[in-house]
């Protein structure tokens, strides 16, 4: 990606430039408000929350919210890691293979399969809870982390396949044809030709899947229980408790802890995400 700015306008200091910057900064402020409020609140004491207002600075920086939050949800942090990492890697890998076949090795019915898979992206997951848990029970995986990983892989497939297929479709056929003439096999072509070009889309896929699986609540609450629960379930138990005094500072700190990994991914890997999108993921 050499040319990341294709901008058309001239970069002179004019009225319209000022207006553009003003709009962009204003929009950024609006996007930031919820995050700022959450951060400020997480450092306030309960009295401070009751008396002060949303954007007021904490009277005393109070870390107790974070300590309490970590005590409650921190233990579940690693559960989420243990679930997310394998599920993301496996679903990305399978998605890459599927995308490769669907774009380079089409056969009768492969288009139909792709259509069926696309429809699957839109399936509301609530409908599959009961039959899926029945299947998982039959497989002997009920209440195990493996079962949860399996569910995430299955329902992540639709999107990962879509990403890779759309990316590979834009790669010229000639490359693959030439390799075939040289006698390269199925896996060799994938490993030697396609995979090296796939870094951007792999990044997109990893980021997307990581966000989806890390943030998942529904599958986590149903397919994992007790000590194996992911952090979103622990967060829900904290935030959605209907009785007892509400400690907003703890709630907000816990929400920040639960959201931190995905936030960091977006902050540090965000540019790869954009590059991946630029290089073809969105060419629909």
């Amino acid at each position: 990606m050499t040319n990341m700015t294709s901008g058309i306008g001239a970069s002179r200091f004019t009225f319209s430039r000022v207006a553009i910057y003003a709009t962009l900064i204003l929009a950024a402020a609006v996007y930031l408000i919820p995050l700022v409020v959450m951060l400020l609140t997480s450092f306030k004491s309960p009295e401070d929350i009751r008396t002060g207002n949303l954007l007021s600075w904490p009277q005393v920086i109070d870390g107790i919210g974070w300590i309490k939050a970590w005590d409650t949800v921190g233990g579940y942090f690693w559960n989420s890691v243990k679930i997310t990492v394998p599920a993301v890697l496996i679903s990305t890998f399978i998605g890459a293979m599927n995308g490769y076949v669907l774009s380079m090795w089409r056969f009768r019915g492969s288009q139909l399969f792709f259509g069926l898979l696309l429809f699957g992206c839109f399936l509301p997951f609530q409908t599959v809870l009961l039959p899926a848990s029945f299947t998982i029970g039959k497989l002997g995986l009920a209440n195990t982390t493996t079962g949860l990983v399996l569910v995430h892989v299955v329902y992540g497939l639709a999107f990962t396949t879509l990403f890779f297929r759309n990316y590979y479709v834009s790669i010229p056929d000639a490359l693959v044809k030439a390799a075939r003439l040289d006698g390269a096999g199925f896996f060799t072509i994938f490993g030697r030709i396609l995979l090296p070009m796939s870094v951007p889309i792999v990044m997109v896929c990893l980021i997307w899947q990581f966000t989806q699986i890390w943030n998942d609540f529904l599958f986590g609450v149903v397919f994992a229980s007790g000590d194996a629960q992911p952090i979103t379930v622990a967060l829900n138990n904290l935030v959605n408790t209907s009785t007892g005094a509400k400690e907003y500072n703890v709630d907000m700190a816990a929400a920040m802890i639960a959201g931190l990994p995905t936030l960091l991914v977006y902050i540090f890997a965000g540019k790869y995400f954009l590059r991946g999108l630029t290089s073809g993921a969105v060419k629909g």
Partner: protein, 302 residues
């Protein structure tokens, strides 16, 4: 289409090569057939039974659909989805395109600003819903803040108004997804052929005209992808509603996904729940089939 057929030497290795793609795809095919369509079929079956607390297989014909049609709450939920989905998609697209175009004007610190727009997508809907529920609450949030700052007459209580609560959902959802749309369009803009634009500039066309007439129309596929992703978020918006309004006040901010979940699991009316799921899938099919048709017709890779 099947360029594999070029190689028809019948050595075992070639036979394997020919079968490999199918073998690789086979597990996914099985998964999709069972995990998607098998389960949909099962739900379809249940929608014709009197399943209540748990699945049962006593056939009652179309009775559950009739009850669904009679249910006022279902209609409120469907209407909400139309309003919410329509507004959410349109506003997200407009804001996303607008910000992408602005960001494409050789902006300093572009990466930094981009990250700010994009970060809401990283948060789970539960966190988003909780934060916005708080921000929009008249007694606690923005409303109180503005009054504290001296704007006495300010009153923003949409969250409590059964006719307007759905707009609150739109605000939160747009906040979350519009940055993502921006990223998609920014990516699209970077791919636009510069020479066409230069030519138009030489012809004396103004910038807005160039964007409206030339650049945006060439981004049609991006619009399509963005629309699909937004539609998918809208239809699945379950966490957001349950964290933000839980369907209230009354059931005025209910959405079909929420309706289906509560009837199937909390209310012990699995039959109606299944019927509503099938109706939802039917609606999705109606939107998706034209897209898939064009996708699979035009997308030859030569």
């Amino acid at each position: 289409m099947s360029s594999v057929a070029v190689f028809s030497k019948a050595s075992p290795f070639d036979a394997l090569q020919r079968w490999l793609p199918k073998l690789v795809l086979a597990p996914s095919m099985l998964i999709v057939l069972v995990g998607f369509y098998g389960y949909i079929f099962w739900t379809f079956l249940l929608s014709f039974t009197n399943s209540s607390f748990m699945p049962s297989y006593k056939w009652v014909g179309l009775q559950q659909y009739a009850r669904l049609m009679d249910n006022d709450r279902w209609w409120v939920a469907s209407k909400n989805l139309a309003v919410f989905g329509g507004m959410f998609i349109v506003i997200s697209l407009v804001i996303g395109v607008f910000l992408a175009i602005l960001l494409d004007q050789r902006i300093r610190k572009e990466g930094f600003i981009r990250t700010i727009y994009l970060y809401p997508m990283a948060l789970s809907m539960i966190v988003t819903g909780t934060a916005w529920k708080w921000l929009l609450n008249p007694g606690l949030g923005l409303d109180k803040m503005l009054r504290d700052w001296g704007w006495e007459g300010f009153r923003f209580d949409w969250l409590l108004d059964q006719d307007r609560v759905v707009y609150c959902l739109v605000i939160a959802a747009v906040w979350q997804a519009s940055g993502f749309v921006m990223a998609m369009f920014l990516a699209g803009l970077r791919g636009v052929d510069q020479s066409i634009i230069r030519a138009a500039q030489v012809d004396g066309a103004s910038l807005p005209t160039i964007y409206l007439r030339i650049v945006l129309p060439s981004l049609r596929p991006v619009f399509f992808s963005a629309f699909m992703i937004l539609a998918h978020i809208a239809i699945k918006s379950f966490d957001l509603v349950s964290a933000m309004t839980a369907g209230g006040p009354g059931y005025s901010s209910d959405l079909p996904a929420m309706f289906m979940y509560s009837f199937t699991f909390s209310r012990g009316q699995m039959g109606i729940g299944s019927a509503s799921a099938i109706m939802m899938l039917g609606a999705i099919l109606a939107i998706l089939v034209p897209y898939l048709y064009s996708e699979l017709r035009n997308k030859r890779h030569d």
